[in-house]
């Protein structure tokens, strides 16, 4: 089915191309129409939503095929595919919505599916907790988002994209309303796209089956925030303060998550932090006003990160559910297809030419350099860290000796490896979509998006600077790979067990900067305490007895009312009738 919708999307893509128009709107019916508020249930197809739709249905279809193999032993395979399809539906709704409220339907819909699929194996309480955490954290973001939508409505009297953007382009930059709107929307994006401070749900979300991690928590849902901001590019261009905040959050997240990734030993957790980190890069690009670059990185990331997760799934499948990379090793020989595809993705994410990640990341780095050298250094450091933890992962899993006794790893069946190979091809060549002029290309991808996304124009760097900016990271990256090779292959260093003593800085990194602990200490615990306090102390000790006291005092007033306590129902009736009679008497006197 998803494959079918991919075909339809492709047809749509070519028909829009041939018709020469840049966008098409389809209105189904009026959803909410009261007073001055008119919100149609409408879809907008333009180059941005088409790009997203191609990713969702294309990568989504491959992951669905892969899942046939991955999930075939599961007794609830039916509900798995039902939920995956519900997700695809919601995600398409999200990117096709022609106004903010329809986008929001999809936005919360994917949140729901994410909740369902993270907690898919519902027998495990920890998984259920992870699912709930994801939903609640997203809801915090959603609250910001919905307030943003309401403010958009009050500012522009509409929430339809085209109308909002037409009006906004007449406004001057930096007004309070625009800044507030963009900040509110940003809160939503932080939750959905797992940025500081709302990112801790994503690593936990790895509790879901691996295809879910690939589809929802790598390729599509988590990029919804990027999509939304790119969609609102006109608004964000008017809010320089917000853009700066986005840069700060993005670079902080990119660096923090990359550092955390260095010390993770669960194959999926490494990839999860890597996703958080890569999303940080997309945020940097957004903050720089380079929206189409962000979407470009989103696209290549969708290819190689989906591939990495599916590859990891293939490994986990082969290792009968083992996820600890310290217990793997030597899988290169046993599962060559998985190895080669995983290698392709690793090279892509590390930014090695001509793999796809190189083009998109290089573009972000260049644009960061133009903006500020500090951001550039941070982003470059993040890229080197990325390269290190990815090769650490690759070497530990596929090189060296097999470390788990009694395991008989084997290559996965064709239904799983064929999607891997297709994604590998995309990861290798995906970058050619947008070859920069330096390499004689013409930036097809950015040009294609120009009609829907309004990136800030940049002056462009001189040829020499660009060459330098390409060569310096490349040489550094090669050094990092060499270093990783020496450590994990030559010296065959295996990360220490969880109990081993560590330096304080190692501890901080190993414990993911204690974000979870801080949140539990700062929010969860006080909330539980407050809840107990209000219930036991306020409700049951103050408010309730106060009323009971009044009741008792009343009943002491006379023996007549004391009868009430004996529960004499005829008296109740009497009181009612008496009340009405009293009324008549009163009126007769007056």
């Amino acid at each position: 089915m998803v494959l079918l919708s991919f075909v339809f999307t492709a047809v749509l893509f070519f028909s829009l191309r041939s018709s020469g128009s840049v966008s098409a709107t389809v209105t189904l019916f009026n959803w909410i129409s009261i007073g001055g508020m008119n919100i149609p249930f409408a879809f907008l197809i333009d180059h941005l939503s088409l790009t997203m739709m191609l990713i969702i249905t294309g990568v989504g279809a491959l992951i669905h095929i892969y899942s046939i193999g991955y999930m075939h032993d599961d007794e609830r395979v039916n509900s798995f595919f039902a939920q995956m399809n519900l997700f695809t539906f919601s995600m398409l709704l999200l990117v096709m919505g022609a106004n903010y409220l329809v986008l929001f339907i999809g936005w919360e819909g994917v949140g729901l599916c994410s909740y369902l699929l993270i907690g898919f194996w519902f027998k495990n309480p920890a998984f259920n907790y992870a699912a709930r955490k994801a939903f609640v954290m997203n809801r915090i973001g959603d609250l910001g988002f919905i307030l943003g939508i309401i403010l958009i409505f009050f500012t522009f009297k509409t929430v339809t994209f085209s109308e909002v953007f037409t009006q906004a382009s007449t406004l001057s930059s930096g007004t309070t309303a625009i800044t507030l709107i963009t900040l509110f929307l940003l809160i939503g994006a932080l939750g959905k796209s797992a940025q500081i401070p709302l990112f801790t749900w994503l690593p936990d979300a790895m509790a879901g089956p691996t295809p879910v991690s690939a589809l929802i928590h790598a390729a599509t849902m988590v990029t919804a925030g990027i999509y939304m901001i790119a969609r609102s590019s006109i608004l964000y261009n008017l809010a320089p303060i917000t853009l700066n905040i986005i840069i700060i959050i993005g670079s902080a997240t990119a660096i923090m998550a990359a550092i955390t990734g260095l010390k993770q030993n669960d194959i999926k957790k490494v990839l999860a932090y890597s996703t958080v980190s890569q999303l940080g890069y997309m945020f940097i690009a957004l903050g720089l006003g380079a929206y189409s670059t962000a979407v470009f990185h989103l696209t290549t990331h969708a290819f190689f990160k989906a591939l990495l997760f599916l590859g990891a799934g293939s490994v986990i499948h082969a290792m009968s559910g083992e996820q600890d990379i310290r217990k793997m090793g030597g899988l290169r020989k046993k599962m060559p297809l998985t190895y080669f595809t995983f290698l392709a993705a690793t090279l892509a994410i590390s930014g090695i030419p001509p793999f796809s990640g190189f083009f998109s990341k290089d573009l972000i780095l260049n644009q960061a350099f133009e903006h500020s050298i500090l951001i550039y250094i941070l982003a470059l450091a993040g890229a080197l860290l990325t390269c290190f933890y990815m090769f650490r992962l690759l070497y530990l899993v596929f090189f060296g000796d097999q470390r788990l006794d009694g395991a008989h790893p084997h290559e996965s069946p064709g239904v799983m490896t064929i999607p891997l190979m297709i994604l590998a091809v995309l990861s290798v060549f995906g970058g050619f979509l947008n070859i920069p002029s330096l390499f004689g290309g013409n930036s097809n991808f950015s040009t294609f998006l120009q009609t829907a996304v309004f990136s800030k124009t940049t002056e462009g760097l001189s040829m020499t600077t660009e060459i330098v900016l390409t060569l310096v990271p490349l040489s550094l990256i090669s050094l990092v790979i060499l270093f990783a090779y020496r450590t994990f292959v030559k010296k065959a260093v295996i990360p220490a067990s969880d109990e081993a003593s560590m330096s304080w800085i190692g501890k901080i990194i190993f414990n993911k900067f204690y974000f979870d602990e801080i949140y539990i200490f700062a929010f969860e615990k006080p909330f539980g305490f407050l809840s107990g306090f209000l219930f036991h102390k306020v409700e049951n000790t103050v408010l309730d007895p106060a009323v009971d006291g009044i009741g008792k005092a009343t009943s002491r007033l006379g023996s007549l009312i004391r009868k009430l306590q004996q529960g004499n129902m005829s008296f109740y009736l009497f009181a009612m009738v008496a009340g009405i009679l009293l009324f008549i008497v009163f009126i007769l006197i007056v």
Binding site: G109, F122, L534, F535, G551, Q565, G567, Y572, I587
Partner: protein, 487 residues
């Protein structure tokens, strides 16, 4: 037609008292409720507005006059939509004194219809009291543990509120020009000095505030809900809370508009405290029914806050939410009842892993939970979105605090869902069966309504459009007087 809708449940109720066969009683009661629903739908959607009036107590200047506007339509629709389900909820198990129980339920329905149709304050008051009497009996005779003390508390609360309201009505009555009248129209034409309106507001509001309930007049509610039988709690939470909302809209806005404007922010703040307070407390409940009781209080409090921002969107959202909340809460309490039948307990720590035995029940429970936490494309979202929009118009802080329900609601409802359905706990449940056809008869229509209204809410909006606009117009001059008075 109006009289017919009022009398069908009443007469059927009387007839039931003479029927011996329990199954026959239930079937007759259900048919009566379905007939009433059918008539109501055709009345509010398809027939031109009608009134019914005969002279009644002449010396009081009070006719027996019935009529309805958009707000009444919503209330009628909800009441008569829910009663078939409330009756159906009793089909699954044996009950004691079936004829009396169903007669009382139908009497309640009839009196509620009277409340929503009454065109003068006296008739309103009579029906208001008449609606409470059968409910007392339902609580007292069919309730659970500790029912006597709890019903007593409920009684004290409502009696106090009612008497104060009665005083207010008498006061208004003697203000009307001679010959005196209790017509709402006559009341709304009164010109009451601002100083009087300021205290009169609370005289009229207390009874409704207790019924809804508004913080801090709510302490009767959680224990009463927890103790009440399934049908009792459905009547209380589904319909009777709306009596409070209806009363406030009918009495306060047209009669004491200056009082409303004066106390506006006070009531909004109280309600928002109620929202947060109830949501936070709900999280710590170990009893599933009590948890839902607090969640209902949080939702109603948000509706009260929305009522008092006096904004067009908020009022539309409020009236929409009246239907949405009624349908959702009845479905929720039915789920609670089914879960209790399965597990033999309401205590959350004793539950877990029910999904293993009853996957279909778990799916439907989740859908109702999602409706309750206002996921888009459920009715709850449309209502809450409009109400928060209205709150935002008043103040961004109001919207922020009101919007926190989105987060807190997700926290405690998903917690409850997880506790009941998920996990791998091996509990020795009383039965290990999934939903029965009868359950589908109950739950599927309600879930469909929740979804249908979430996707296409327009019919409800159209129903109240005129009334909401006229309420707005009502308040515009008052706002001017108010600002003049303040300065």
């Amino acid at each position: 037609m109006l009289l017919l809708i009022l009398l069908i449940p009443f007469i059927t109720g009387f007839t039931l008292l003479g029927v011996r066969n329990a199954a026959a009683v239930k079937v007759v009661a259900l048919s009566s409720a379905i007939l009433t629903l059918f008539l109501t739908v055709s009345l509010v959607f398809f027939l031109p507005a009608t009134r019914f009036s005969v002279s009644w107590i002449n010396f009081l200047g009070t006719d027996f006059s019935l009529g309805y506007d958009g707000i009444s339509s919503i209330m009628l629709l909800l009441t008569n939509l829910l009663f078939p389900f409330i009756i159906l909820a009793g089909f699954k198990h044996e009950q004691k004194q079936v004829p009396v129980l169903y007669a009382l339920i139908l009497f309640t329905q009839s009196a509620l219809i009277g409340v929503f149709l009454a065109q003068n304050a006296f008739l309103f008051y009579v029906f208001w009291e008449l609606a409470l009497i059968p409910v007392y009996f339902i609580l007292l005779l069919w309730g659970g543990a500790n029912r006597r003390a709890i019903t007593f508390k409920f009684f004290i609360y409502t009696l106090t509120g009612s008497l104060i309201l009665l005083f207010g009505i008498i006061f208004l009555y003697q203000l009307t020009p001679s010959p005196h009248s209790t017509d709402f129209l006559a009341f709304s034409q009164l010109i009451i000095p601002a100083n009087t309106q300021i205290w009169l507001f609370w005289i009229l509001f207390i009874a409704f505030a207790i019924k809804m309930p508004v913080f801090p007049f709510h302490t009767w509610q959680p224990p009463t809900y927890t103790m009440a039988s399934t049908q009792g709690v459905m009547i209380l939470a589904g319909v009777m809370t709306k009596m409070g909302i209806y009363g406030a809209l009918r009495f306060l806005f047209p009669i004491v508009p200056l009082g409303v404007l004066f106390w506006q922010n006070t009531v909004i703040v109280l309600s928002l405290i109620g929202v947060i307070y109830a949501s936070i407390i709900a999280f710590r409940q170990t009893n599933l029914k009590k948890l839902i009781a607090f969640s209902s209080m949080a939702h109603i409090s948000l509706m009260v806050a929305a009522m008092f921002v006096l904004n067009y969107y908020a009022l539309q959202g409020l009236l929409f939410q009246v239907i949405s909340h009624g349908v959702t809460i009845v479905a929720l309490f039915y789920m609670v009842y089914s879960i209790e039948k399965q597990t033999g307990t309401l205590e959350l720590p004793m539950m877990g892993g029910l999904k293993l035995h009853a996957p279909k029940m778990s799916v439907l429970f989740l859908m109702v939970v999602l409706g309750s936490i206002a996921l888009p494309l459920t009715a709850g979202f449309v209502g809450e979105f409009l109400m928060i929009t209205g709150l935002f118009h008043q103040s961004v802080w109001f919207a922020l605090v009101g919007g926190i329900t989105m987060v807190l609601g997700a926290i405690y409802m998903l917690y409850a869902y997880q506790r009941v359905m998920l996990g791998n706990k091996e509990v020795n449940y009383e039965s290990k069966t999934d939903l029965k056809p009868l359950d589908y008869f109950f739950l599927l229509p309600l879930v469909l309504i929740i979804l249908a209204l979430g996707v296409y809410p327009q019919p409800i909006f159209n129903l109240v459009e005129q009334t909401v606009k006229s309420m707005q117009n009502l308040l515009t001059p008052a706002t001017e007087v108010m600002s003049a008075w303040v300065h």
